[in-house]
């Protein structure tokens, strides 16, 4: 955390501007100093909160979900919303220990539901992708 704040401070100082309170450099600099101070304060006065980190199994699940969302972002344009979101939904349901027989129907139905509501009824564009010719 301290390292992060110092990095922020250095990048604030490296901004290409005059060091004048009215300019765009001074204010981030003040923030970075405050960040550094509060990180140091946390080292000196650690809070008595004890963190329970998730066990290995649950940590894997979190990592899997996060990766799935990441991949979703990359394939969204090519595959289109319905296909990529169905896969994501299926992965999430599996991670949350849904019954096997429910995963496929629920994930496909809910994604199509979202598509109809957001894209068709509300006019917010979601990429059609592979199914382009089919649903346009």
């Amino acid at each position: 955390m301290l390292i992060l704040s110092i990095a922020f401070c250095i990048s604030a100082l490296s901004l290409d501007a005059d060091f004048d309170p009215v300019n765009e450099k001074f204010y981030p600099f003040v923030l970075s100093v405050l960040l550094i101070l509060s990180s140091i304060a946390l080292f000196i006065f650690p809070s008595d909160h004890s963190t329970t980190w998730p066990n290995a199994r649950n940590l894997q699940k979190i990592a899997l979900t996060a990766t799935a969302i990441l991949i979703y972002g990359f394939v969204l344009q090519q595959l289109g919303f319905i296909i990529s979101a169905s896969i994501l939904m299926a992965i999430c349901m599996w991670v949350f220990e849904a019954k096997q027989k429910w995963i496929a129907p629920v994930s496909i139905a809910s994604t199509i539901g979202f598509y109809v509501v957001f894209d068709r009824l509300l006019g917010l564009n979601l990429p059609a992708g592979l199914l382009n010719t089919l649903i346009q």
């Binding site: 004048d20 809070s47 998730p54 969302i69 979101a85 999430c92 220990e97 849904a98 979202f114 509300l122």
Partner: protein, 495 residues
């Protein structure tokens, strides 16, 4: 003025929005994992799409907010699981009542108390807000800057947990807000974009809010998950209250409403503290005669009245001073800014439609809620049966849809994920999120007012402490810094 408000609130669109808002709010309040903040953030792109006026948007969001306070109590009573922390107190007496087979009476009491608390506090809002706004006319950039500093100190020192962590969280929020093109500098200076083209427009607050609240909620659920846990919904018979039960609770409802309202107005305190305070007061007043903790209807009435009136009270700093005091109102302010409202102490005089319209719509919303909650509560309670394995994936999908449709950018999805991880770590290590959100939302305003004030005063820092208003605000800031420590000291001594 209020009549004018009703003319705004009673227009077809706004009645529809109130109805949808409180209905959605009730459901959102019942379900774990999706609070009013997430709902507002996810629904915001839709509000933009339909080009709602700021007044209509706020009427809608407010409906979601106080509607969720009603819904909260349903899951507290029937499941012993509060939808959000503010309903935790309702569990104490609500769930024992449900176990005794009196879930219906508890729900009826909570609906009546929520309604009375809500309506009475709207009267307080209409009464006090215009008085306060008279004080706020002489505000310049310097005064507004100091006011925001004051809001921050109050929020960080009243928020539970470590003070230093709250400060760190607030400054982190302010720092995130500096990313992007600087509006004030000549030619638009890019800051902290690290050469990434997409960061030029800054980081959208919706992306951060959904990441930090919704995505991290999914992660949190996963991290505490153990297989095989099944939840039981208490059976629900008739939803009825006897006249005597009502009469016993009236005084408590009134007291709790005032407490809730005052606590709601304070930045940082909010519904959770309000309901705890109200519950403890009633418990002490009942003394040995009460059945508190084992299923006393008054123990349901007090926190429900208090958390609804604190929701209304929290609109005062937002609408009168343009400074939000809680994360939910902060998100509302950010939404209003995007819709073109200039926030600040003149909001009430500049946008009378908004204030009076929202106040009047709250009356309508509370009417709708009592109708929803008394006869239809049996139907609504069915929603609690939705299993986790369907609910959490749906929240994940809703989040990514909400973030994507905002700008149609995949980069925002990546940012959302990063903030999801940050939010998860912060919640695990007990860093409060409210200061982060407030920092993010007010960051731009604070910097603009700070630099504008310095420009007007030719770089003289004395502009921040040479008017009576700024001096007064600094005194309040100092007080809010010292007060929590002093209260703790006094408590320790009396024990």
């Amino acid at each position: 003025m209020l009549l004018h408000g009703f003319s705004v609130a009673l227009s077809g669109l706004n009645v529809f929005l109130v109805f949808i808002g409180v209905f959605l709010g009730t459901i959102i309040g019942m379900l774990p994992g999706i609070g009013p903040i997430n709902a507002i953030a996810i629904l915001f792109p839709i509000v933009l799409q339909f080009e709602l006026t700021p007044a209509s948007a706020l009427i809608f969001f407010a409906g979601i907010f106080y509607g969720s306070q009603y819904g909260n109590s349903i899951s507290s009573i029937l499941l012993n699981v509060p939808g959000t922390s503010s309903a935790a107190v309702t569990c104490i007496d609500g769930n024992p009542l449900a176990k005794q087979g009196r879930a219906g009476s508890a729900l009826a009491m909570s609906a009546v108390a929520s309604f009375s608390g809500g309506v009475l506090s709207i009267f307080l809002l209409v009464l006090f807000a215009p008085l306060l706004s008279k004080l706020a006319i002489d505000f310049g950039p310097a005064e507004y800057f100091v006011l925001m500093v004051c809001a921050f100190t109050a929020l960080t020192s009243f928020s539970h947990g470590s003070f230093i962590k709250a400060v760190f969280s607030a400054i982190l929020g302010l720092a995130i807000a500096t990313v992007g093109i600087d509006e004030l500098s000549f030619g638009g200076m890019r800051r902290f974009t690290f050469g990434v083209e997409e960061l030029g427009d800054g980081i959208d607050f919706i992306v951060v809010v959904i990441g930090v609240f919704a995505i991290s909620e999914v992660f949190l659920f996963l991290s505490d998950m153990s297989s095989g846990a099944v939840q039981k919904v208490a059976p629900l018979k008739s939803v009825l209250l006897s006249l005597k039960e009502l009469k016993d609770s009236v005084a408590g409802i009134l007291r709790s409403c005032v407490t809730g309202f005052l606590v709601g107005v304070l930045p940082g305190a909010g519904a959770t503290i309000a309901s705890f305070l109200a519950y403890n007061t009633e418990k002490k007043m009942a003394g040995d005669k009460g059945n508190f903790g084992k299923g006393d209807l008054r123990g349901v009435a007090a926190p429900e009245s208090a958390n609804n009136s604190s929701a209304v009270g929290s609109f005062i700093p937002l609408l009168v001073l343009g400074v939000p005091g809680s994360e939910t109102t902060a998100v509302m302010l950010a939404a209003l800014i995007t819709l073109g409202v200039t926030p600040g102490p003149t909001m009430l005089t500049d946008q009378p439609d908004m204030f009076w319209g929202v106040a009047a719509s709250m009356f309508i919303g509370n009417m709708v809620l009592i109708v929803l909650n008394l006869p239809l509560v049996k139907l609504l309670a069915k929603i609690l049966l939705v299993p986790r394995w369907i609910l959490m994936p749906l929240i994940a999908i809703l989040s990514i849809v909400g973030v994507y449709v905002l700008n149609g950018s995949e980069f925002d999805l990546l940012l959302m994920l990063i903030f999801g991880v940050i939010g998860f770590i912060m919640r695990k290590t007990d860093f409060p999120l409210a200061p982060l959100i407030l920092g993010l939302v007010l960051g731009g305003l604070i910097e603009v007012n700070f630099r504008r004030a310095l420009t007007y005063s030719y770089g003289e820092f004395s502009t921040f402490y040479d008017s009576p208003i700024t001096i007064g605000l600094w005194l309040i800031t100092l007080f809010s810094l010292v007060a929590p420590f002093a209260i703790r000291k006094l408590k320790n001594r009396s024990q």
